[in-house]
Amino acid sequence: MTHDHLDKLEAQSIFIFREAFHAIDRLAMLWSFGKDSNVMIHLARKAFFGRVPFPLIHCDTELEMDEVYAFRDRYTKEWDVNFISHLCPPIEATDATLPPAARVAARKTLGLKEVIEKYGFTGIVAGIRRDEEATRAKERVFSPRAAEGGWDAKDQPPEFWDQFKTDFAPGTSLRIHPLLHWTELDIWQYIKRENIPIVPLYFARIYGIFEGRNLNGKLMRFRSLGEKGITWPIESSAATLDAIIEELKVTKVSERSGRPMGADEDESSFERLRADGYM
């Protein structure tokens, strides 16, 4: 029996899910309704034979796109998951020195801290991938956070031979990253293979006036989903899964190009957010 690249990634992610479920008493998973977190839910259901045996959290800024909310309403019912929706603190609660887009992200960070505290979660499964961004490339699969949620990129425990950090001092919380080794292309190929539902915003369509901005009737799609006003579609004609996969095989444009937070705005703001606990 030969296993292809996706089989290997799937097996490794299932292994990680089961390690996390075993090691962590109060485990929860972030669900943004984006492509990566939908893949995570699918993998969790494979790992646990049809169910997700821990809650799914959405930190709601009330700024998601309408299609995203529609997707949420449909699949929270259809997948019968234990869903926690948490309203994030207002923008005024965030660090005013951060760029505007980063402040929206900071709301989510604050919201996550609140929800962790409220339910006493000690481990959070998050769908970050190494190929998304250079700082994420440094992450571990089991990544400890100090009690305040901070990430010490300079002093991470070693991680090898699939032996993850499953011992921790009281007060430590963990982030678990089952998709760390996946690439954007892997995600789309897997979505196609496994027939995983996604928000239709990922497919190209004609955009006229969108969220107050004139997009001039261009053919565009969302490569990455985020809040209204800070996330924009990119020019693309990919209207099917196959077209998206073909597009990604040749593109040299970064995945987060539709999201200004990062290199375009301030090269260090992303890292500052991560050090502060942002996913």
Binding site: A11, F21, H22, F48, F49, G50, K138, A153, A263
Partner: protein
């Protein structure tokens, strides 16, 4: 290993600090057109902003802290596309402090590039990294002699480094794939032959990458199914885990280790449910149900009956240590072996190895960054393989202060498979009590000695307590489970309702005997020091647990004892202040056939203790070795 050009290759780049790893990666990304659009320009702009020349390594070193310090801190991963395959590059830091990150990176690699600075030559970390790659199981290594531009592309310099480093690798058992002279900064030898070095006829770096093969979980090896968890979400009891090697099918009889229980695979469960497979193979994360509801838990390993792993509580390990505190013998550590977590200690450090000179040194501890050969003893038995037979079950990590702080590979040379001896199913001729599957033998194998009662009898002042104390300390220091029972810890609690009448004395001894037997059955060596003057009482104690009882006569004449009279008791007894004092106003019946006589009148205390230790070694420790041998014999007969 399977050769498949389409498979993604995981590549680690190691070498001494400043020998140009990040620069090489930046150059590789650029020259193979693998960079995202605008990244090159962004780094250019960033360098200009900082007022410095263009720096290739900035592509990798994305964290600000690294830019400020100018060294790579952690392992980053970058995707690279050659015309023939996709490659994930793991850039491992060369700085000694960041060894744990280098190991994190290198342990996942299929192949390695070792960078050596042509100008500086072979340095400490060049050798240490080579050694660690070998320990981590990375067998494919290409050596790149970098910065050739700084030595005017001189062939002699290259050949000298090649000869010296090849000799070093050979001495640790590595046959390098190739040596390539390059200049990462100038782009020589990266994608094609360099015009500066017409004397070099071999492959470029990119060409060499296509020669490497991708490591795959081995289906050809015997089945190893590591149990992660047992789920009961619904009416199914699903045994979940990953197949580390081999394959299993529905209907196969599985042997679980270390419990040695068997059951058939009833089904392979999967979701969505329309896809129930009949077979599963190496690398897959699966779940199965069993035909019999035997006891299975996380950490157990399923195999077929033929080709099972070894069961042992001792093995030799070659390990590297990354802990902030030194690794010390005698201390308890948690080790993780597959999905098994178990307490273990370093029994002995055979030697510490200097990775640079390969010199073997005696040491009483393993310091951070060192490699050592040790003998480990686990608390209870575990299923293992020799690393060379099956790496997945032949390696483990050690946890210190909540973090993985070291890793080791297992060597079973000279150690026996204890399967037969610990088995609840395979009857050993020596097993006299199968009690919930934990036999005296399995306790003995776990502890390194049998339990037993060293019943000291003798006059007051004969030296029972003195010898008991010293013997306890000496046995404890040897790592044995030992406990001394005496009037102090018995009369105050358990027997505080008893006086000194003949009836009460008998009852006192009976209770001490029962207590001692429980300790001994639990695997402890019990030293009891009570005068126990009556033969009948001692006979009754022996009857409680005859196989555990050792009657030891601590012999000294009444005269000698009375002269010693350290507690002044004889004086008081002679004065009639203590009634029924053994030897004075009550009889002492010396044992007729003691198992051992310790004459404290003719021997020094030290001699007496040595004689007792010799007795313990002979009767309680050596039989464990026989048990290991016996287990090996059973293995030889195919059980």
């Amino acid at each position: 290993m399977t050769k498949d050009k389409k498979q993604q290759l995981k590549l680690v780049i190691v070498g001494h600090v400043d020998h140009g790893k990040s620069t090489l990666v930046g150059r590789l990304l650029h020259d193979t057109h693998s960079l995202p659009e605008g990244k090159f320009e962004a780094i250019q702009a960033s360098c200009r902003k900082r007022g410095m020349a263009f720096e290739w390594s900035f592509l990798m070193d994305a964290l600000q802290a690294e830019r400020d310090q100018g060294i790579t801190i952690d392992t980053t991963q970058i995707w690279l596309k050659t015309p023939h395959r996709n490659i994930v590059i793991i850039d491992a830091p060369g700085h000694k402090e960041f060894l744990k990150n280098m190991i994190t990176g290198a342990a996942q690699a299929d192949a390695a590039l070792v960078l050596i600075d042509a100008h500086e030559g072979i340095r400490e970390q060049s050798k240490r990294h080579g050694y660690l790659l070998h320990l981590l199981g990375v067998r494919q290594i290409a050596v790149l002699v970098n910065k050739m531009d700084m030595v005017k592309y001189d062939e002699k310099t290259f050949r000298t480094i090649e000869r010296e480093y090849r000799d070093y690798l050979k001495s640790i058992g590595i046959e390098p794939t190739c040596f390539i002279p390059i200049s990462a900064r100038e782009g020589d030898g990266i994608t094609a032959a360099s015009a500066h070095m017409p004397w070099y006829k071999g492959a470029s770096v990119v060409e060499s990458l296509d020669h490497f093969s991708v490591a795959a979980p081995d289906e050809a090896l015997p089945l190893r199914f590591s149990i992660q968890d047992v789920y009961k979400f619904d009416e199914r009891r699903i045994i979940a885990g990953r197949i580390e090697s081999g394959a299993l099918s529905v209907g196969d009889t599985l042997l679980f280790s270390p419990t040695n229980m068997q059951a058939k695979v009833a089904s392979i469960e999967a979701w969505p449910e329309n896809s129930k497979p009949a077979q599963a193979t190496a690398g897959q994360s699966i779940g199965i149900t069993l035909s019999d509801q035997i006891f299975v838990e996380r950490g157990h390993v399923a195999s077929h009956v033929q080709g099972a792993p070894m069961i042992t509580n001792q093995f030799r390990a070659r390990l590297f240590w990354l802990g902030k505190k030194a690794l010390e013998p005698g201390k308890r550590y948690k080790i993780k072996l597959g999905t098994n977590e178990i307490l273990a200690e370093i029994k002995t450090i055979e030697h510490v190895i200097d990775a640079e000179t390969l010199a073997q040194m005696q040491a009483d501890r393993v310091e951070r960054g060192n490699v050592a050969e040790v003998v480990m003893r686990t608390r209870g038995v575990v299923a293992v393989d020799d690393f060379n037979a099956n790496a997945r079950l032949g390696r483990f990590v050690i946890v210190q202060d909540y973090d993985v702080a070291g890793g080791g590979i297992i060597g079973m040379d000279g150690f026996f498979d204890q399967r037969a001896a610990v088995s609840p199913q395979v009857k050993s001729k020596n097993i006299f009590d199968v009690d919930f599957g934990v036999t005296p033998e399995s306790r003995a194998l776990a502890n390194g000695h049998f339990g037993g009662i060293l019943w000291f009898t003798g006059l007051s002042g004969s030296g029972k307590s003195t010898l008991a104390k010293q013997l306890q300390k000496r046995l404890f220091d040897k790592g044995y489970h030992v406990f001394a029972l005496d009037g102090d810890n018995i009369r105050k609690g358990l027997n505080r309702d008893l006086g000194f009448s003949p009836q009460d004395r008998s009852e006192n001894i009976r209770r001490v005997g029962e207590t001692a037997a429980l300790f001994a059955q639990a695997g402890t060596i019990v030293i009891s020091s009570f005068i126990s003057p009556y033969r009948e009482d001692r006979r009754r104690v022996r009857a409680i647990a005859p196989e555990l009882f050792h009657n030891i006569y601590i012999k000294a004449s009444l005269d000698a004892c009375e002269k010693r009279d350290s507690k002044g008791l004889y004086k008081q007894a002679r004065a009639g202040k203590i009634a029924e004092f053994t030897g004075i106003s009550a009889p002492y019946e010396a044992p007729e056939n003691p198992d051992l006589i310790i004459d404290t009148e003719t021997m020094s205390v030290e001699h007496c203790v040595n004689a007792l230790i010799k007795y313990v070694e002979h009767h309680l420790v050596e039989p464990v070795r026989n048990l290991e041998m016996e287990a090996a014999d059973y293995r030889g007969t195919g059980i």
